[in-house]
Amino acid sequence: MSEIVKVEHLKKYFPVQKSFLEQLFARKMSYVKAVDDITFSVKRGEIFTLAGESGCGKTTTGRLIIRLLEPTVGEIYFNGADITKLKGEKLRLLRRKMQIIFQDPYASLNPRMKIVDAVGHPLEIHDLAKGKEKKEIVLEVLEKVGLTPPEQFTNLHPHQLSGGQRQRVALARSIIFNPEFIVADEPVSMIDVSLRTALIDLMLNLRKDLGLTYLFITHDLAVAKYISDRIAIMYLGKIVEMSNKESLFLNPMHPYTQALLSAIPIPNPERKRKRIELTGEVPSAINIPQGCRFHSRCPYKRDECSKKEPRITEVEKEHFVACHFIKS
C-alpha cells in the first residue's frame, strides 16, 4: 500500500496573547505547543485514527494537514508531493482532493444557506457546475449519504434538520469533489449515541464505494476500535504510541495507552477489570514538563524520566512506542 499522506516533524506553536505591558517586559514569547514534532503516514485506503484527551493536539494536526492552519515547522506530503507551502490556485486544486468533516454539526453549516447550496456551493467555487447541473450532482450525493428521498432535503435550511441529518449533509459536502482523503474531526462525538453506528457504517461504506482514505480523530477509544486500521495515541502534542489496531488493543505498551484502554467501559457487569487510574491533571501545553512529558502522571516513573525525553522507536514490527523502558 502506498502512502497518501505523510507528515514529518510537524510542529504547531500558537503564540500566547499578552497585553501590551507584558510584551514590553517579557524576555521570551511563550507558546502553546499544540503539536510538538510528530511524524506519521497514512496509507491509501486505510482509516488512521488519532486518539487522545482533549487538548492533546489531534484536531490541530487534522487542520494542519488539510492546510487550514500553517505549520510552524515540518513537512506535509500528499501523494508524495510536498504541500506544506502550497499557495493560491495550486492550493485550491488540492482542496478538491482532501476535505474535512467537523465535530459540531450545528456550527458546520451556514444557517442562511439551503441544503442544495450548502452542499453544492463548493462546485460553484471551483466553477465546476451551476444551477440545474449543480442540483443534479447534489441530489446524487445526498442519496449516497442516505438522505432519501434527496428532493425533500434540497430546499430545507439547516435548522430544519436533526443533528444526525446535518452531519450527513456535512459528509455530502465533503465528498462532492470525489476527494481521495478526508479528515474526520470527531464526526460522531456530538451525535446521539443511537445514531453513531449508522453514521460510522455510512462512512465505512463510502470508503469502499469511493476509495476514500480517512484520518479519523476521536477521543472515544471504543469508536476508534470499531473503525480504525491503525491508531496513534497522542499526549500533549506528541504521539506516544502508534500501531495497528489489533496490536494496540491486545498489547498496549505505553503506560498512557494502558490507562486509556482500562478506562473503556465493558458492557458486562460480570466482568471486572483492573483500572489504571491516572492522578493529576494534564499539564499545560505552555509549560510542558521536562523529559518525558507523561512523567508527572506516570505510575512507573523513575529518575531518568524527568531528565531525558524518550524517542519514539519501533519496538515490534509496525508498533511504535515512546517510553524509556520499553525496548524491542
Binding site: 488539510i66 487550514l68 478538491r96 474535512i100 444557506m113 456551493h121 459536502r173
Partner: protein, 294 residues
C-alpha cells in the same frame, strides 16, 4: 419575470410575514405598531401636497398666532402660516435626512466592519482606533461641528448625522464577524477553496444582517432626533421649506407669549416618528435574537 409579478411575489411574501408577527407575543405587536405609525407618517408626507388646506410657506393665510379653531385646526404661527399644512408637509425633510444618513452609515460602516475584522491585524487596529475616537464624542456635538463645517442643506445634514452613527454599525458588524469567522462553516468554506470575498459575502455577511437591521432602525430614530436638534439650533435646511425642526425653533420663542400650539404639534410629530422607529427596533431585536426567543 415582469415587474408586476415581482411586486406581487414580494407582497405575497411580506403579508404572511407581517401577520405572523402578531403571533409572536408582545414584541411582535410592538413591531407591528411601529410599522403602522411609520407607514402612516410616510403616507401622510407623500400625499400632503394634495390634502393640505393651504400653502405651508405662504404667510398671512390667516390671522397671526390664531389658536386652534375649526378653520385652522392647529392654529397659525407668528407669520400667519397655517400650522396644519406645515405639519402635513414638514415630515419630508426629516424622512429624507434620516433615510439618507442611514444609507450612508450602512454603506460605509458595514463594509468597513466586515473587512476590518475579517482581515484583522494592524488594519483592524487602526480602524477600531479611529472609530472608537469618534464614538467617544457625544453624538450631537460632533454632528453640530460637522454640520457647521459643511453648511446647511439636506445632504450635508445627512452626512453629519451619518458620521455620528457609523461607529455603531462598525462595532456591531465587527464583533459579529469576529465570532462568526471562527465557526466551522467558515472553515469548511475555506477548506473547499473559497476565496476571501466569497467567504465574506456568502458566508459571513448574510449572518450579520439581522443585527444590522436592528441597528438601522434605532439609527433612524436617532437620526430624526439629531436632525431636529440641528435644525433647532439653526444648522438645518433653509427657512423656505416647511420643517418640523424649524417649527420647534419658532414655537420655543412663541411659547412665552402663551402660543403653545406652534411648538406642541411638530413636537408630537417628531416624537411619533422616533417612536415608530424605536418600536420597530425593539420588536425586531427581540424577534431576530434567538437567545431572547421564548
Amino acid at each position: 419575470m415582469s415587474k408586476v409579478k415581482i411586486k406581487q411575489s414580494i407582497l405575497a411574501r411580506l403579508i404572511p410575514r407581517l401577520t405572523s408577527l402578531t403571533k409572536k407575543g408582545p414584541s411582535g405587536w410592538m413591531a407591528i405598531l411601529g410599522i403602522i405609525i411609520l407607514s402612516a407618517l410616510v403616507i401622510m408626507t407623500v400625499i400632503a401636497p394634495w390634502i393640505r388646506p393651504h400653502d405651508p410657506i405662504k404667510t398671512g393665510v390667516g390671522p397671526i398666532r390664531a389658536p386652534p379653531s375649526s378653520q385652522f385646526p392647529m392654529g397659525t404661527n407668528h407669520l400667519g402660516q397655517d400650522m396644519l399644512s406645515r405639519i402635513l408637509c414638514g415630515g419630508s425633510i426629516m424622512l429624507q435626512i434620516s433615510t439618507l444618513s442611514v444609507l450612508v452609515c450602512f454603506l460605509i460602516g458595514v463594509p468597513l466592519g466586515l473587512f476590518s475584522s475579517y482581515v484583522g491585524g494592524i488594519f483592524d487596529r487602526a480602524c477600531s482606533l479611529v472609530i472608537d475616537a469618534i464614538y467617544a464624542f457625544p453624538g450631537l456635538v460632533i454632528a453640530i461641528a460637522i454640520a457647521a463645517m459643511l453648511g446647511p442643506g439636506v445632504v450635508n445634514m445627512a452626512l453629519s448625522i451619518a458620521v455620528v452613527y457609523i461607529p455603531s454599525y462598525f462595532r456591531i458588524v465587527r464583533s459579529q464577524v469576529l465570532s462568526i469567522k471562527e465557526l466551522t462553516y467558515v472553515e469548511a468554506a475555506r477548506a473547499s477553496g473559497a476565496k476571501w470575498h466569497t467567504i465574506v459575502f456568502r458566508y459571513i455577511f448574510p449572518n450579520v444582517i439581522p443585527s444590522i437591521v436592528v441597528v438601522a432602525t434605532i439609527n433612524f430614530a436617532d437620526a430624526v432626533l439629531t436632525a431636529a436638534g440641528l435644525t433647532f439650533i439653526g444648522l438645518g435646511v433653509t427657512k423656505d421649506v416647511p420643517d418640523w425642526g424649524w417649527d420647534l425653533t419658532d414655537g420655543r420663542a412663541l411659547l412665552s407669549s402663551g402660543t403653545w400650539w406652534v411648538i406642541t404639534f411638530p413636537g408630537i410629530m417628531i416624537i411619533l416618528l422616533a417612536l415608530g422607529f424605536t418600536l420597530i427596533e425593539e420588536g425586531l431585536s427581540e424577534l431576530l435574537n434567538p437567545k431572547l426567543q421564548r
